[in-house]
Symmetry: C2
Subunit: 307 residues, 2 copies
């Protein structure tokens, strides 16, 4: 029986100002997915390692729902067994559902002989992602699929732009031990935003792109400020304000929530700064023994075969 | 008596998606300003050539109000005579008030021995610009001062970013013969925008920057779409929809209103395309004998001494 093993990186959606539009692939928090053909003509989840909260039911799991969408499109009745090793808990804000969805469709596409390009695979991955967020958006699945920094310029028709990430951009990430569900976090946001805030956000979006292109880490940091989701979501995250102040005091050029949180990222120039910032964040969350810390750079390869 | 002659280029504010944030300096529609010291210890407008609608009262004219703001800051009691030659009518959407304001402060700064940098001069120019728009914004004065494509990343503190413009970017501009006052056009906009529209705009803003950086004229064109002001302001402009359709049919990659209009710009790849687009626009406005047409590229020098 044919089989394949793939890796899909975690990611930060929004990257602060780019709500539903920007995404950054990380070299941490990715999923490993092994898929093997079976002879029962159905999708089956054999095991999920690293997160007991995720359903094993193939008709409800993000990986298999996305994979099934691809199989339906090509008209295949083949069955496959899935073994998923989670790199990060669901509900962390580090693109857990996005990397599961991209891993699922990428693996099936490989086993079918690559009928689709990575760009074409996004639409199948989005079917899986919808289970988590109840909306179609690409701010996690695009970076997870392609690696690097991605921009959803348009949803309809879908247009994804890619951008190189500065070599000296490091992120210090902390994930405190609370779970925030993406769809609930979305519902807290209103349907409108003040025009003055939108204009501020326009400037930050342009600034973030300029910073990435010009390797200007301070400009990137200044530009990750967000007025859409952060003012509301930061209240759901224990000690957000203290964490931000600690990170900036330790040298970070910017700080915000990863996706819908609770993970947070600090923009750092070089590894030493990221280490200093992590020390400062550990002081803030010293009583939260289940907090996780990551020092990471961008993943530049995206979803890929391993082994 | 000391004297100086300066040129300040016209500009397109907003550039579609970058409402109040983006600006593009043009190699047309600029003002020429001659300033000479006088011995009456007051500012005096000697003549304004090319636009009879502009006030000659020094305490109300954009040029002299901006110049006076600078003189007040340095504590100078010197008097100056101003002769202004307008490159474009006020109320065109081509940055008429912005280039008058930048010309005024730049000229006085020269005559005083350059106490300020161009960046520092922006705040004085904005005092003049406020007369026209009743708001402080830099989407015309920044490109007019610096040339090229500018981004107001932040108003407070003021941060202006600059971006090179592709060599093969041409703009076909048409100004139909109606006057739209900036402050009235602003008042028609609401104080909020739908979040879904803001997200679309975020993608376009990122796309426009990417297009400029990558010399991708089709991407620039796709990205100049705007959901803040264009849906409302386009209704004030005779035949906007026909003009847009004609420009795109003639090859333009994008089309929108310059600032608050009524001038409109078409994004074109190369001069030949801009000429074709202009032909198509002339057919639309064939009955409007007072319409003006410009084929232009970016001005890359900004406000400067001439002669």
């Amino acid at each position: 029986m044919k089989k394949v093993k793939v890796y899909a990186p975690g990611s930060i959606g929004n990257v602060g100002c780019g709500f539903d539009v920007f995404g950054l692939a990380l070299n941490v928090a990715g999923d490993i997915l092994e898929v093997e053909e079976n002879n029962i003509g159905a999708l089956r989840i054999i095991d999920i390692i690293g997160d007991d909260s995720i359903t094993r039911k193939a008709e409800k799991n993000i990986v298999t729902v996305a994979a099934q969408a691809l199989l339906n499109e090509v008209g295949s009745k083949q069955g496959f067994d899935f073994t998923l090793t989670k790199g990060v808990l669901a509900g962390s804000g580090l693109g857990s559902s996005g990397c599961s969805a991209t891993a699922g469709v990428f693996a099936i596409n490989e086993l079918l002989g690559q009928p689709y390009s990575k760009m074409e695979l996004l639409k199948f991955a989005s079917v899986g992602e919808q289970i988590a967020s109840h909306q179609v958006h690409y701010d996690n699945i695009a970076p997870s699929m392609f690696g690097g920094f991605t921009i959803t310029r348009s949803n309809n028709p879908l247009e994804i732009l890619q951008l190189a990430v500065p070599d000296n951009l490091y992120l210090a990430i902390v994930r405190p031990n609370v779970i925030i569900k993406t769809n609930e976090a979305k519902q807290m946001l209103g349907n409108t935003m003040p025009l003055a805030n939108a204009i501020t956000q326009f400037g930050n979006i342009a600034g973030l792109i300029m910073g990435m292109q010009n390797n200007d880490i301070p400009l990137i940091g200044r530009s990750v400020e967000d007025l859409v989701a952060t003012p509301i979501r930061s209240k759901l995250i224990p000690k957000f304000d203290e964490a931000k102040e600690a990170a900036l005091s330790a040298g970070a050029t910017g700080f915000n929530i990863a996706g819908s949180g609770p993970a947070m990222f600090a923009i750092c120039q070089g590894k030493a700064m990221a280490e200093n910032v992590t020390k400062a964040l550990k002081q803030v969350y010293i009583a939260d023994h289940a907090a996780n810390y990551y020092i990471t750079q961008a993943d530049v390869k995206g979803t890929r075969i391993i082994d």
